[in-house]
């Protein structure tokens, strides 16, 4: 952080000012002139919150993707299928047992198992052949999509939110002041907040696991130099399998999350594959903090875009990607 400020004082100042303006926009009561020019504060605040919570979902999908890439240099284009499969498992379990939480557990385990099978049966056989692996994952994603279409049909599934999460909560953020002087607080869907908090917890847990544990150390060492790590006697194949299982399992959890606050259906696999590709390209391939930053940027761009420039909302996401590729092709937080 201090190094960044020393090296780029101008950029640091701009970022600081942007953060200050954002904080003021979120915390202050907007003067009437601003409301007229920019729309109501409630709309803005909602869009910001939606962007961040959507970013939480994107992070869950993209973190697994980026982890697998970082360690194995394997661009797993079947990652979207794992997301969708997790969603279907979550739906089936929660509809069958009535337990939303159990849906998460089984989806994580089920999809992690698929990940293990994929790593052992498919990817181990073509280690180090990037192009071949990429082609195989494209093929697998098509096969998976058709299998799921066959099993679950073209219908939309929505995972029922448990009753204790339905409805809005009032947040201590003032959106407007009534003429009587009474403050109007922001009301926001409970379920999205809970899911966002869960994404943050998972993100921090992953960071801790990578930076503070022995296994994490092996993974980091593997990211830096796989061959050297293998030469030191670490059972690298086991690490690969564990990381693949974790990455796949996270995609499965994300599927349940996506099925709860949106819905799951054929086609969602490619949508989320594309989203996680954009997120990791923006954030930096292989970097977990990069995935978090990229996810929040893309989530915010989508939601603010859909409110303020609805016609061009789709363009904004890709515009960001183009800008990042042009100015910092390795991604915002990439290490190399």
């Amino acid at each position: 952080m201090t190094r960044f400020i020393e090296r780029h004082p101008a950029w640091a100042l701009i970022v600081l000012i942007a953060v200050a303006v954002l904080l003021w926009l979120i915390l202050a009561v907007w003067p009437p002139g601003l409301e007229e020019a920019f729309g109501r504060k409630r709309v803005f605040l909602n869009a910001v919150f939606n962007g961040i919570t959507l970013g939480g979902l994107y992070f869950l999908v993209a973190s697994g993707f980026t982890l697998i890439f970082g360690l194995m240099r394997n661009v797993n284009l079947a990652h979207g299928s794992l997301y969708l499969f997790g969603g279907y498992i979550g739906y089936a379990i929660s509809a069958w047992t009535g337990s939303w939480i159990l849906g998460f557990v089984i989806a994580f385990l089920g999809v992690a198992l698929v990940g293990i099978v994929l790593q052992i049966v498919v990817f181990r056989r073509m280690e180090g052949q990037d192009l071949r692996q990429t082609m195989v994952t494209i093929g697998l994603s098509i096969v998976f999509a058709d299998l799921m279409l066959w099993a679950f049909g073209g219908d939309f599934y929505q995972i029922q939110t448990p009753s204790w999460l339905v409805g809005p909560v009032e947040l201590p953020l003032v959106t407007a002041v009534r003429s009587s002087g009474e403050a109007v607080y922001l009301r926001y869907p409970m379920v999205r907040l809970v899911i966002f908090v869960a994404a943050v917890v998972i993100g921090i847990a992953m960071w801790l696991a990578l930076n503070r544990t022995r296994v994490g150390m092996m993974v980091r060492a593997g990211v830096d130099d796989r061959d050297m790590l293998a030469a030191t006697g670490v059972p690298i194949q086991l690490v690969f399998v564990a990381v693949f299982a974790l990455g796949a399992g996270l995609a499965g959890i994300a599927g349940v999350v996506g099925g709860t606050f949106q819905s799951i259906s054929p086609g969602e696999d490619t949508r989320f594959l594309l989203a996680s590709l954009v997120v990791v390209i923006v954030g930096g391939m292989g970097s977990i903090p990069g995935a978090a930053l990229g996810a929040v940027i893309i989530g915010l761009a989508e939601q603010l875009g859909s409110v303020y420039i609805p016609t061009y909302a789709i363009v904004v996401t890709f515009l960001i990607m183009v800008l990042v590729l042009a100015l910092r092709p390795q991604g915002l937080l990439a290490r190399r």
């Binding site: 049909g153 339905v166 869907p189 999205r192 259906s265 409110v307 609805p310």
Partner: protein, 416 residues
């Protein structure tokens, strides 16, 4: 080896198709949205289609009709692809297609390139399809989106006392047409439409759209359908929304009213208008509902047919009845058959239907209100029945043509 094998397969399939011709089958291609946002709508459309076949049978004289179903996803290119496949691979002679608005415009334009075949619209309801440069071989036995909104604007203004409303709709031709019909009548009565929000078809995350809904209006009109409508209602419930609602023809419809979960309860009391009403007491309608219910087990259908089922029922019925009138004669580029189609008057379950000079339906419209039947099922209850609704909505054609084509901003909110 492989080549000769493939050749053999091709040869045998050729032989097979010529054998089929010898049995005097009439091949009809059907498309429905069995993928994507409108999957449930497509599935119920096919149920309506099947109900018509059950009621009328497949025989035309000594010939038999063979129906071949292809799937689309509500995008125009998927519809054209499906229609092409049906014509080129399955060699169909008549098409029953498509389901959704944008698909309708694309298929109508495609129909012009195949003047020797006949196209019967299955359920699509964009105004442009039959109003602008209609194809001579394209017939539509359902009303368009604007016709399906007739009566709603006046009812909202006069009976419900709504003065200012805002609209949220899927961003494509059918919903433009629906909002067109609503705005024309509501603003004509003196109301104001303050805000029109458009969301891409297939939107998942409505949270920001819901947050942007204005507070200072009497009601919010929802022109959504299929999975979009269900997603919207779920997120609306999570956000704690409480506004008065008004619904379009595929919003207040069994495809949504029978959705899983309790988010749909936000629709109780919602006023809407459509080409049908679930609780209409007309014996013809009741008979159709019974036929639909008898044809499928309760867990494989809705409690009552959706608008799509009714449309597919009517278009299939017109297709079969006109074929019988000409005794299956499709010679001379189907000239006789087309004449019969243009003249046919359907005694449809949802009121009498006849075609105008553009081959567009003139029919009956219903203003409805959503009620709970006490057992947790929702139905649309008839408030008003309006017969003889034509495509210019009762306006003088010259005045109507000046309003412009339905779009995001047309018509303006004023009296024409």
């Amino acid at each position: 080896m492989f080549k000769s094998c493939a050749g053999l397969v091709a040869l045998s399939s050729l032989l097979l198709s010529s054998a089929a011709m010898a049995q005097e089958k009439i091949k009809v291609g059907v498309t429905a949205t069995l993928e994507g946002t409108y999957t449930v709508l497509g599935e119920d459309g096919i149920r309506g289609h099947q109900t018509a076949i059950n009621t009328l049978g497949k025989k035309v004289g000594d010939k038999e009709i063979e129906f071949i179903i292809a799937s689309t996803d509500a995008t125009p290119d998927s519809a054209v692809r499906a229609v092409r496949k049906l014509i080129e691979q399955d060699k169909v002679q008549i098409l029953l297609s498509p389901l959704s608005g944008d698909e309708g415009i694309a298929v109508k334009n495609f129909a012009k390139t195949r003047p020797e075949l006949t196209f019967i619209n299955a359920a699509s309801g964009a105004q442009e399809t039959t109003y602008v440069d209609p194809a001579p071989n394209f017939y539509r036995y359902n009303m368009d989106g604007a016709q399906w909104q007739v009566g709603l604007g006046k009812y909202a203004y006069e009976t419900k006392g709504y003065r200012k409303i805002a609209t949220v709709g899927d961003d494509y031709s059918f919903i433009y047409t629906q909002v067109f019909g609503l705005v024309l009548e509501f603003c004509g009565a003196g109301g104001k439409v303050t805000n029109r929000q458009w969301v891409p078809l297939g939107t998942k995350d409505f949270a920001s759209v819901i947050a942007a809904l204005p507070d200072d209006v009497d009601a919010i009109y929802l022109g959504l359908g299929g999975a979009d409508a269900v997603n919207f209602l779920n997120q609306y419930q999570q956000a704690g929304g409480k506004a008065h609602l008004m619904g379009g023809s595929i919003m207040v419809d069994q495809t949504i009213l029978s959705a899983k979960g309790n988010a749909k309860n936000a629709l109780i009391g919602t006023i809407a208008a459509s080409g049908q009403a679930d609780t209409w007491e007309d014996p013809g309608w009741q008979k159709f509902v019974k036929a639909y219910q008898d044809a499928f087990p309760p867990n494989k259908r809705f409690p009552s047919p959706s608008l799509l089922a009714t449309n597919y029922y009517n278009s299939t019925a017109a297709l079969i009845l006109a074929l019988r009138q000409v005794n299956g004669d499709l010679s001379n580029n189907q000239a006789k058959y087309r004449e019969a189609l243009a003249k046919i008057e359907l005694d449809a379950p949802n009121g009498k239907i006849k075609l105008d000079s553009n081959r567009q339906a003139i029919g009956t419209n219903f203003v409805t209100e959503v009620v709970d039947d006490g057992k947790g099922a929702l139905f649309s209850k008839v408030v008003k029945v309006i017969p003889n609704v034509n495509q210019t909505l009762g306006y003088d054609p010259a005045v109507f043509s000046k309003i412009g084509l339905p779009s995001r901003t047309v018509p303006e909110c004023k009296k024409y």
